[in-house]
């Protein structure tokens, strides 16, 4: 049987994590960990339950920044009155994950920690200007989300570090669109997060590359005033130019994903334009 600890103070959690790095398994919602562990023999391991650490549960606005704790569940995001309308992307992404039961326990930090190329929140956060804040006994550091993911199921969080929170700059508007094989409990065929800032657009999509993909030319086109139709065509081109990809994955062929990059972006931009009109009335 593994050891189980649930510290209520961050310093205790970090001390354990630094002192027993190889033995620790970080447990928040557990929706990935429990499945991954399966029937494995966990004797000798320590389940470090971080759900009692107050820093991880924060969800608050500080000026133009939303501080989103890594321990916040997707249901909390969906139901939060704190998250402003311009961060619609977060709520839409949260609502698209799993099922109600999963959303009740799964957390932001868990999704990022697993770093799956199809991880809805990995894609969503990559579509925003966000910083990932990491904490260890050695201190705190933060890095932009585009630097956080390094490969399939790989990120820059060190074994003795804890993902504490996301600091997200408020955009003017944002949306998330996911295309799956069904409407619930579905990993994405293709998902994209789009946000519009005063000085530029940001788009992230996946799963197309090992880490969330940013079609930077399309972003530049939109920032420069390009039309949704032009943006959609360019996005399709950028994804096509990537090449590679498994010819026919169970979740959609390469050809379909390329087409959907354009189609979904076109839909999202259209919706954002309608929202803008409605807002500016």
């Amino acid at each position: 049987m593994p050891q189980y600890v649930r510290p209520t103070r961050m310093e205790d959690a970090l001390a354990l994590l630094s002192g027993e790095t190889e033995r620790c398994l970080i447990l928040a919602g557990g929706t990935d960990l429990v499945v991954d562990c399966g029937e494995a023999d966990l004797s000798g391991r320590i389940l470090l339950d971080v759900t009692a650490l107050p820093e991880l549960g924060q969800l608050r606005l500080e000026g133009e920044t939303l501080r989103l704790g890594a321990g916040v569940s997707f249901t909390e995001i969906i139901e939060s009155g704190t998250i402003p309308g311009c961060l619609g992307l977060l709520k839409q992404a949260a609502a698209s994950i799993g099922s109600p039961q999963i959303r009740n326990t799964a957390t932001v930090g868990g999704n990022l920690g697993t770093a799956s190329p199809g991880g809805d929140f990995c894609i969503a956060l990559s579509g925003l200007r966000a910083e990932v804040v990491l904490l260890s006994a050695r201190g705190e550091r933060s890095l932009p989300v585009e630097a956080f993911f390094t490969g399939v199921k790989k990120n820059r969080c060190q074994p003795d570090e804890l993902i504490v929170r996301l600091d997200i700059r408020l955009p003017l508007a944002s949306r998330y669109r996911k295309l799956g094989l069904r409407r619930s409990l579905a990993l994405p065929i293709l998902a994209l997060g789009v946000s519009e800032y005063v000085d530029g657009w940001r788009i992230a999509m996946g799963p197309v590359t090992p880490v969330p993909f940013r079609p930077v030319e399309t972003e530049a086109l939109l920032t420069g005033g390009g039309s949704p139709a032009e943006a959609a065509a360019l996005a399709e081109q950028e994804v096509t130019r990537l090449g590679g990809g498994r010819r026919s994955s169970l979740r959609g062929s390469v050809e379909y994903k390329r087409k959907m990059a354009g189609a979904l972006l076109a839909e999202v931009l259209k919706e954002m334009e309608e929202d803008r009109h409605w807002r500016n009335r």
Binding site: L179, L181, R182, R183, S184, I189, L250, E255, K259, A263
Partner: protein, 710 residues
């Protein structure tokens, strides 16, 4: 009582999560059995090396086919299968050997340590591949199991004169039963009798097979059925029962086995894929002139019910219509896919998908409304079916068509969700009740003790509500409170053979035997009431067998009366399709079903709802790929979010030979749904999907192709 929505007796326990299923009742101290799966698609078994396995602490034995002392052939219709493979592996998930251990862990470790030396052979995955000259023979008899042709009139005369001719190729995939309760069984000795507790749809057949494979006299084997958590035909053939029986037999100790969900995906039986090339023609007034179909059915690694499924497919291959000129050609072919066997619909989901797509295309070509076109050709009392059976009554097809027409008129299409376009499609079907052309009697025994009635019949309650239906039939027939009646159905010792619970036959066949038995009991009680109490001997026992009237199908003419009666249905599907992405959302399904008489209306609606949901999965998202879809992660069932609003409409065109007029609904519920959905997609965006499932990606590229071509 009949038609009443009495709550099911097992509902509360099941909702509360009470300990009702096999796994809940396994013996406390038992041996565990774990399977050794093949891992290759096709090969010769050179040797099975048990040494490392037996060295595992707690490991007791490794069994192969040779360890069965009795007659090893278990193939029911075709003797092409043994209880464990003798010398050949024919599919990737095949259970090659069994490891027995003191604990499940020890057995599992031992199973993994078994070394099976194989000489790999080329593997084939479609009937087309298997029919190519020079293709490896999967069985000694060759890859073609069966070849049937049916002819009526002369189709060749027709094509030139017809107003419309529609020709297309259709295909359907392997799909998984995905019942909620994975397979499990246990066995133990009681004195000198071997008691096997399993999940089999036919416990008498299981009893015979256990006795036969162990070389035991029938009286020394008893099979009891645990409460089953869903089956859909997948638990037709005993498997784990045979495995635990051997372990218990050899070690004289209780033995238990269960399969994980992954093992179910890899190992269990599936629905037959079919490849159907259709050509159909009609005249300018909308009368069907001809239907031609050449059908390849994937028999996979072993036959199971393949030939019977093909019989049903053929008898229904021209749809629920009168067609004067017919040419059918069907071949059943081995491949190295996981075994295809009985699954809800038994061949009809495949053929009706093709036929009803063709009907839709013909209606379009004629400019006729799809329901009107069907009505013009629909079977009626006085018509003859493809096998020239005269329909003498209870043909509610016309009423189902009218019900859907009325609904359609009264419910104009709603505005579609933003970014989507709406479409509606219909499909009709009929379903012969009972085994195709095979005698399938059902026996019931009643015991009346003066106060309470016990009904004994080995019917498989698998969640469909057979117990409840029989309860209500008995209560109505005897005019007593249902609380005084118990249904006993799960023990070969006390329950007479009801025949297999499949072919949607139980309500009709066993229900009728029960109704007849109750009538005889009443007669006896009435006669008894005229005597003095001392003359009465209780308990009164009445046994009754009902044998539905039917004849075998005569070959080569393919004529006969293979079913005593037919169920009919028409369904309408309403979909929203996103023209930008191909996504299909199923909004509503109207399902009008002629069930003869609904014994419990809510249960019948439940069957319809479940069938429609299954049909929706078949139409839109389910495809089993060996080696690739081995969990619910990859095998896409519809979730509650994907389920449509389902509007069941019950039509009761009473069947005079059925209990209180009842026919059946279990499988009919499923058959028309997929074509209705595919027809609705066609209506919405102008493209037709010929190969199930109709994934969004397929719809998208079909639309692309149309834009570029047109």
């Amino acid at each position: 009582m009949i038609g009443e929505n009495l709550a099911r007796r097992d509902a509360v326990d099941k909702l509360r999560g009470a300990r009702v299923y096999g796994d809940d009742h396994r013996p406390a101290a038992c041996l565990h059995v774990r399977p050794v799966l093949a891992g290759i698609d096709h090969g010769r078994i050179r040797a099975v090396d048990r040494r490392q396995a037996l060295a595992v602490p707690g490991a007791l034995a490794v069994f192969t086919c040779e360890d069965y002392p009795g007659h090893k052939v278990t193939g029911r219709l075709i003797p092409d299968m043994t209880v464990l493979p003798l010398d050949r592996i024919r599919y990737r998930g095949e259970i090659v050997a069994l490891a027995v251990g003191e604990t499940e862990r020890a057995a599992e470790e031992a199973a993994r340590a078994v070394v099976v030396e194989v000489e790999e052979l080329p593997a084939l995955f479609t009937p087309q591949q298997a029919l190519e000259p020079g293709a490896v023979a999967i069985h000694e008899s060759g890859n073609r199991v069966l070849h049937r042709t049916v002819e009526r009139g002369d189709v060749h005369r027709v094509w030139a004169e017809a107003a419309v001719v529609v020709e297309h190729h259709y295909s359907t995939p392997l799909v998984e039963h995905a019942y909620l309760e994975p397979d499990n069984a246990f066995a133990s000795w009681e004195d000198d009798r071997l008691i096997v507790n399993g999940s089999c749809q036919d416990i008498h057949a299981a009893q015979k097979l256990v006795a036969q494979t162990l070389g035991l006299p029938l009286e020394r084997v008893c099979v009891r059925r645990n409460m089953i958590g869903g089956s859909f035909g997948g638990k037709t053939d005993p498997l784990l029962e045979l495995f635990v029986a051997l372990a218990a037999y050899v070690f004289r100790r209780p033995a238990y086995m269960r399969l994980t969900r992954e093992e179910m995906f890899r190992s269990s039986v599936k629905r037959h894929p079919a490849y159907i090339h259709c050509k159909s023609a009609a005249d300018r007034n909308g009368r069907l002139l001809a239907m031609q179909a050449s059908i390849l059915v994937d028999n996979a690694a072993y036959s199971y019910s393949g030939p019977a499924i093909c019989s049903r497919m053929l008898t229904h291959a021209t749809g629920c219509y009168t067609v004067p000129n017919v040419r059918l050609d069907l071949q059943l072919v081995y491949t190295n896919n996981p075994p295809t066997a009985a699954m809800r619909g038994y061949g009809e989901p495949q053929i009706v998908f093709a036929v009803e797509s063709q009907m839709d295309e013909m209606a379009r070509a004629l400019g006729m409304d799809p329901l009107a076109f069907r009505r013009k050709n629909a079977l009626r009392v006085g018509d003859r079916t493809l096998t020239e059976q005269l329909l003498t009554g209870s043909v509610g097809l016309g009423q189902t068509l009218r019900a859907v027409e009325d609904w359609r008129r009264d419910n104009p299409p709603p505005p579609p969700p933003p970014g989507f376009v709406l479409g509606r499609g219909v499909a009709s079907m009929f379903f012969g009740i009972g085994k195709t052309g095979k005698l399938d009697p059902s026996t019931v025994r009643l015991e009346w003790d003066g106060e309470r009635l016990a009904v004994y019949s080995a019917v498989c309650e698998m969640g469909q509500g057979s117990r409840q239906a029989l309860l209500q039939i008995a209560a109505e027939a005897l005019e007593i409170d249902s609380a005084r009646i118990s249904i006993v159905d799960n023990d070969t010792e006390t329950c007479p053979d009801a025949g297999i619970t499949s072919a949607s036959r139980i309500t009709y066949t066993t229900g009728r035997a029960l109704q007849d038995a109750c009538r005889r009991l009443r007669e006896q009680l009435t006669a008894m009431a005229q005597h003095t109490p001392e003359d009465v001997t209780l308990p009164l026992v009445v046994e009754e067998t009902f044998t539905p009237e039917k004849t075998a199908i005569q070959l080569p003419a393919f004529t006969g009366e293979p079913y005593p009666t037919y169920a009919y249905a028409t369904q309408l599907a309403e979909v929203a399709v996103n023209p930008g992405t191909g996504e299909v959302r199923l909004l509503r399904v109207v399902a009008a079903h002629d069930v003869g008489r609904a014994i419990n209306r809510r249960m019948v609606c439940g069957q319809i709802e479940g069938g429609v949901a299954m049909g929706a999965g078949y139409a839109l998202s389910e495809q089993y790929r060996p080696g690739r879809t081995e969990s619910f992660h990859a095998y896409i069932l519809p979730t509650a979010q994907d389920a449509p609003e389902i509007i069941p409409i019950l039509i009761e065109d009473e069947e005079s030979t059925g209990p209180f007029g009842a026919k059946g609904v279990g499988e009919p519920a499923l058959v028309a749904t997929a074509p209705a959905i595919v027809n609705a997609i066609r209506d919405a965006v102008g493209v037709r999907i010929y190969d199930l499932p109709a994934l969004g990606e397929k719809v998208f590229f079909a639309m692309q192709a149309q834009k570029e071509g047109g």
